[in-house]
Symmetry: C2
Subunit: 334 residues, 2 copies
């Protein structure tokens, strides 16, 4: 029996548990820990974990894999707490929204005897917490993976298997590049949603406005309903990238302001252009993303690690197959 420990049983941690349980891997036991006992017991009742463990130290006891699914700043605290008691050879991964600082903390705080692979499934929902968890949220989503320098190849392969098992597409990326990309498509949107809610609800006209606000307003402000602590941690750990994107965005918004003020043909061209750009993106996003490009950082050769797999055979076998495909695409490159 191999043990997977999930620390942090919110939307992502709970959903990972549900998706892993749904895959019916043999010989896997999922232990869950959350600082809120209510979240732990709900996660067990919903079948996201096999058992709860109130002590974070005991929760990682004998664990083959530890998944940390807390807000980003908490990951550092968890590293500090569990570093001493992690079983040698354990695989540690996280689901934090920013990666540069997480990789630095892992390097600084975790023992060299464990393999850390940073992770970030690009999945989310309007609601947060264990009540919103669902096995389905990872279906087809990109799952960013960032192996630390000393991660064992078989550990990387196992985390690839984890991503695939929950229905996601593993995507290797450099941590600095990751943070720069998500600053634009994930963190800037949080700021835009939140500041729109702030600007409108603080307006003297909000009482009347709120009656006319409809589905468009609901959708564009959805990200303002994200977990406030998670959002704060994202801003604090991706500060420079985010500030740079806010500045770029203000330049673009001023260009739009000028187009509106001029009121000419350019405005129509602009709306057609963004209509097309988004349609193209939506269309491409349906294509399995794994097939669209090669991994950004070098990953271990699948052939180096055929045997000696850690996990329940299904998880590891799928990881192996996927890495063979990635490797093959690399070789096929002109």
């Amino acid at each position: 029996m191999e043990r997977i420990t999930i620390i942090g049983l919110g939307l992502i941690g709970g959903s990972l548990g549900l998706a892993l349980k749904q895959a019916k891997l043999s010989n896997i036991e999922i232990v869950g820990h959350d600082k809120e006992p209510t979240a732990s017991s709900k996660a067990r009742k919903r079948g996201a974990i096999d058992k709860t463990e109130w002590s974070i130290l005991r929760s990682v006891d004998k664990a083959s894999m530890v998944i940390i699914a807390t807000p980003v700043l908490t990951i550092k605290e968890v590293f500090k707490q569990i570093a001493e008691v992690l079983p040698p050879g354990a695989i540690v991964t996280d689901t934090g929204s920013t990666k540069t600082q997480v990789m630095e903390w892992a390097e600084e705080l975790l023992p060299p005897s464990v393999s850390f692979i940073g992770g970030h499934p690009m999945a989310g929902k309007e609601s947060s917490g264990i009540d919103a968890a669902s096995a389905e949220i990872f279906q087809g989503c990109t799952y960013c993976l960032i192996p630390s320098a000393n991660a064992a190849p078989k550990a990387v392969q196992t985390v690839v298997g984890l991503a695939d098992t929950v229905g996601a597409k593993p995507f290797f990326v450099d941590p600095v590049e990751h943070d720069s990309l998500v600053a634009a498509v994930s963190h800037l949107p949080i700021i835009l949603s939140s500041s729109l809610v702030a600007a409108t609800t603080a307006s003297p006209g909000w009482r009347e406005m709120s009656r006319l606000a409809a589905t468009g307003f609901r959708d564009i402000t959805r990200l303002a309903s994200g977990d406030p602590i998670m959002n704060r941690d994202i801003c604090l750990t991706n500060r420079d990238g985010l500030v740079r994107w806010i500045d770029e965005y203000i330049v673009e918004l001023k260009r739009y302001r000028a187009l509106v003020a001029e009121g000419g043909q350019e405005l129509e061209k602009e709306f057609i252009r963004v209509w097309e750009a988004r349609a193209k993106w939506l269309n491409q996003a349906k294509i399995p993303r794994e097939a669209e490009g090669a991994p950004v950082v070098e990953i271990p050769k699948a052939s180096e690690q055929m045997g000696n797999l850690l996990f329940g055979e299904k998880l590891a076998r799928r990881g192996e197959e996927i890495m063979k495909n990635i490797e093959k695409r690399e070789q096929d490159k002109p």
Copy 2:
């Protein structure tokens, strides 16, 4: 047999037809006209209209009510085209996203023998066009109504009945106030969505970014997929209000930029504040909005128009009941 003519068979015109047909009003025939013959024939096939009429002039022949559901600038052209042939006593309404200019055009171009009541159902969808039409999109939505100065009370009552029949909540509002309110909660969001798509897709990193863009990005950019002509017309007819709101928004966004750059406790408080504000709005939006306040402009007394109703009895009777309630609330005011 009373005739309702719908000019413009896109998302809103098509959906109004479907919702009216679903209400199974007796003695009502719905005639549809669209400059695109494909839209007309699709609307008939989908059962949104009883028959199509290729000539816009013939389409309003013998019509008791004409609903104009085109982009805003086209409404002016339609007014010009049909003004001469509108049957005396006809009710004319529209569904345009801005109202000040539409009311001015109606005053200027329509004959005094017809009753114009400006309308704006606060309903929408990601997709546009007749294919996306659905009888359900008006359920519970606020339906703004703006009677022109010379609109007959019974005509106002009938349009109230129309809004109610399709499942919407009639809401009387002054045109200038309407445009100012929707500038904030409807038109500014279109600009924010579109400029975000413009800023990201024009970035050199877009190819990689697009793989990480997920459901949050999809939702915040939804409005960039609105009909480009409709969006252009909105900007052209609500220019001052929209420019003012873009300016207010940039101030707010710069405040957020400072909070991110500082990275302190204020950021957390801010995220909590907008989380709460949006939760409160979502919660209130579920309450039937009709009950939340009194109409903004004076409306005709229901008692003045008990008899002599134009339309299929259901439409008019519901309009009458609703206006009695509105009138009663006015009287009950301290």
